[in-house]
């Protein structure tokens, strides 16, 4: 039970990334390249995702607790910090350089993409550096 829900949701997520073409950095980078080969697909992926996620989240939050869990694990919503702003800015730069963000990078490993391996290993290095050296 504890495994089945995340496994099923992971399958839906991976399918969604594959169907939408967002596992393909060429498509993502072309979305970000407004001044060049612009491919607006990513905007529709976001719109489609929010069309479902927004109402489901809002309806979920009317419940005391999740259907098969003890509590909604919700991070802080309001406190704007330097870390949030700087972290988001750094993430965007990395995303623009590589064309992968974490979900597509991990999913692309299933296509035996060498680029995805380089990306994911570097991403894990960045995460661990933050975790063990920089995080206060």
């Amino acid at each position: 039970m504890k495994i089945l829900i995340p496994l099923f949701c992971g399958i839906l997520f991976g399918l969604g990334l594959a169907v939408s073409g967002m596992v393909n950095p060429a498509k993502v980078l072309n979305f970000l390249d407004v001044a060049g080969q612009w491919d607006p697909t990513l905007a529709l992926v976001f719109a489609g995702a929010l069309l479902v996620a927004l109402p489901v989240y809002q309806l979920s939050l009317r419940r005391q607790k999740p259907v098969a869990g003890d509590e909604f694990k919700q991070p802080d919503k309001d406190r704007i910090t330097v870390k949030l702003v700087a972290g988001a800015a750094i993430f965007g730069i990395g995303w623009g350089l590589a064309g992968f963000c974490p979900g597509p990078g991990l999913t692309a490993l299933a296509a035996f993409s060498g680029a995805a391996v380089v990306f994911v290993v570097s991403m894990l290095t960045g995460m661990l550096l933050w975790r063990f050296l920089l995080q206060d």
Binding site: L15, V45, A49, A89, F91, G94, G99
Partner: protein, 145 residues
């Protein structure tokens, strides 16, 4: 090298609906946010239950990709225009930035916006802006790719 890609609105919308359904269900059923940077970074713990659900989600991503191939008959396209150096530097900054800023495209951009978090809306505006600027600099000013 810049690959030409075709605008695929229906596949984009359909894939987006699946991603939104995944995020919505994980929250409704298990009370968890489907942010891939958070799910991945949270693997580095000794808490077995935490490791199990996170690993299950990531294995699910791969199964989803395999099901896609089984149903459509072709392997999903992964063309990375960036050089290995840009992939490595980019990956490192993605890892560092998503931990410093507590989220990525899915965690802030989809889940955070869906729960109307001010932090996530701001983070989403910022990472889209710096990503757009980075691609502009790489492709049109520096011409590194």
């Amino acid at each position: 090298m810049v690959n030409v890609t075709e605008f695929t609105p229906w596949a984009g919308l359909g894939g987006g609906l699946l991603i939104g359904l995944s995020a919505g269900l994980l929250f409704l059923l298990a009370g968890r946010i489907s942010g891939l940077s958070g799910i991945t970074a949270g693997l580095f713990t000794r808490d077995r239950e935490e490791i199990q659900w996170r690993a299950a989600f990531i294995v699910g991503l791969w199964l989803g990709a395999i099901i896609y191939t089984a149903v459509t008959g072709h392997i999903m396209r992964v063309d990375a225009p960036s050089s290995l150096i840009l992939l490595a530097v980019g990956g490192f900054l993605v890892g560092l930035g998503t931990r410093m800023g507590s989220g990525c495209t899915a965690g802030h951009g989809i889940c955070g916006v869906a729960r109307l978090s001010k932090r996530s809306v701001l983070a989403t505006i910022i990472f889209f802006s710096t990503a757009l600027l980075t691609v502009y600099l790489v492709r049109h000013v520096g011409r590194w790719s």
